[in-house]
Amino acid sequence: MLASLKKILKYKYLLCVLVERDIKTKYRRSVLGVLWSMLNPLLMMIITAMVFSTLFRFAIENYVLYLLVGQVAFTFFAESTNFAMGSILQNGALIKKVYVPKYLFPASRVMSSCVNLLFTVPAIVIMMLYTGQTPTWRIISFIIPLILMLAFCMGVGLILSACVIYFRDIYHLYGVLLTALNYATPIFYPESIVPAQYQWILTINPLYYYVKGFREVVYNDGIPELHTMGICFGIAMVFLVAGILIFRKVQNQFILYI
């Protein structure tokens, strides 16, 4: 236990470098660079808002903010897990040559997605001001659902990156699953339009709770409810522990399959 903790500390710098690399290479050669992290969700939100506020007209107050928060949270999940999934395969050449703790690759990917999310904070604040909801000190508490969601994504990322080594199908399957999750999470529609007999889908969807947590802070200008955070914490722990256990069990076999 102590030895593995020491190892983590030894490779702390590598983790930072890997996160830095992800962010650098993502925006290299683009004129606006990191600004894209802000612009992307804003532009996406504008398009979705245009479609859904004219075509469907959901009865949601301050729809753009409702939408933006949901989208940013979902994008974080989708991007980080998808990105983490390929990390072991993409770094295969390296893993075959040098000893590096392998969890660093999925972990760095999830963390760089998290940094990406932090870049979108200004966009959210701008949107809040624009829609007349002045941010208060309570907005700081978004860090609580964020940390829990980071742990959740880390767990999912570890599981996916390990499984995809054995079955490359998961790559393709996961894209479909993400689309399904996108619709199963109240991102662009209100919770209330889900018919009573399908409400259970929301309750088994982990993302529902994280999106809810973020909305309690940013959209409702409150602090996250204990009940929601409790569930988020539970989900995060289950996935994180499962991820670590699965990853540890199979990591020595990776090299034989990549």
Binding site: V17, T25, L94
Partner: protein, 242 residues
């Protein structure tokens, strides 16, 4: 005083060679149901035991497929042996093959930090040695060029410079010196010699018997995953060449 730095005890490495590589879930299930999922066991290394002392220049020779690279991977902790144990005292720096460990999109400067971090160094260490690495690789004019635009010689120079700047306890050299022009090869050999003089243990794999003769003091001859002979360089090289 002789101190054992690497101790290899009864190492056996088995690979499961599947008839065909099963990569997808469907194939796996289909084969499982048909009962066709057999593995062909391939023994790459068979009950290998030896020790390397501090300061040794240890050479591995053998024909293709003898298990040299597998052995090196086990020493570098990249592969876990199926059976047996390897104990290493001290830090190991593998000379990464050309390209691995670099991100082609990043510049030479950024790659020095990335590659250095992969080898387990701190930021402080790398900042201190940054200039020395650049000078050795003779790439000062290309610091801010993405390495994807580098020639293979430049790649190798940078990789060698980073790995050897470290002054590790043990250096693993796996035929990387065959790239680069003769001038750089000379420089590399000089540096390896320098490290040897400073007490670094070197593990060398090469088909270049001349180089093994020049550098090594102890040689293992691997043949089909077994140790055919181990001991004095001259004696084994002579037998090998016959």
């Amino acid at each position: 005083m002789v101190e054992t730095i690497i101790n290899v005890e009864h190492v056996t490495m088995k690979f499961n060679l599947m008839e065909e590589k099963v990569d997808t879930l469907k194939e796996y299930v289909v084969k499982l149901i048909k009962g066709k999922l057999f593995y062909n066991e391939f023994i790459a290394l068979h009950d290998i035991s030896f020790t390397i002392d501090r300061g040794d220049i240890f050479g591995f020779i053998g024909f293709n497929g003898a298990g040299k690279s597998t052995m090196l991977k086990i020493l570098a902790e990249v592969l876990k042996p199926t059976q047996g144990r390897v104990t290493v005292k001290g830090s190991i720096a593998p000379l990464i093959e050309v390209g691995a460990g670099f991100d082609p999109e990043l510049t030479a400067k950024e790659n020095i930090f990335l590659n250095g971090a992969i080898l387990g160094h701190s930021k402080k260490f790398l900042e201190k040695h940054f200039d020395a690495i650049l000078d050795f690789a003779a790439l000062r004019d290309f610091v801010n060029v993405p390495v994807k635009n580098f020639s293979s010689g430049m790649y190798a120079r940078l990789g060698f410079a980073i790995a050897t700047e470290v002054r590790p306890d043990i250096l693993i050299v796996d035929e990387v010196l065959s790239v680069g022009d003769y001038k750089f090869q000379e420089k590399c050999e000089k540096r390896i010699q320098e490290m040897i003089n400073n007490g670094t243990t070197v593990i060398l794999v090469s088909h270049d018997i001349g180089m093994i003769r020049r550098l090594c003091n102890k040689v293992v001859w691997l043949d089909h995953g077994r140790i055919k002979d181990i001991g004095d360089t001259e004696r084994i090289c002579r037998m090998y060449e016959r």
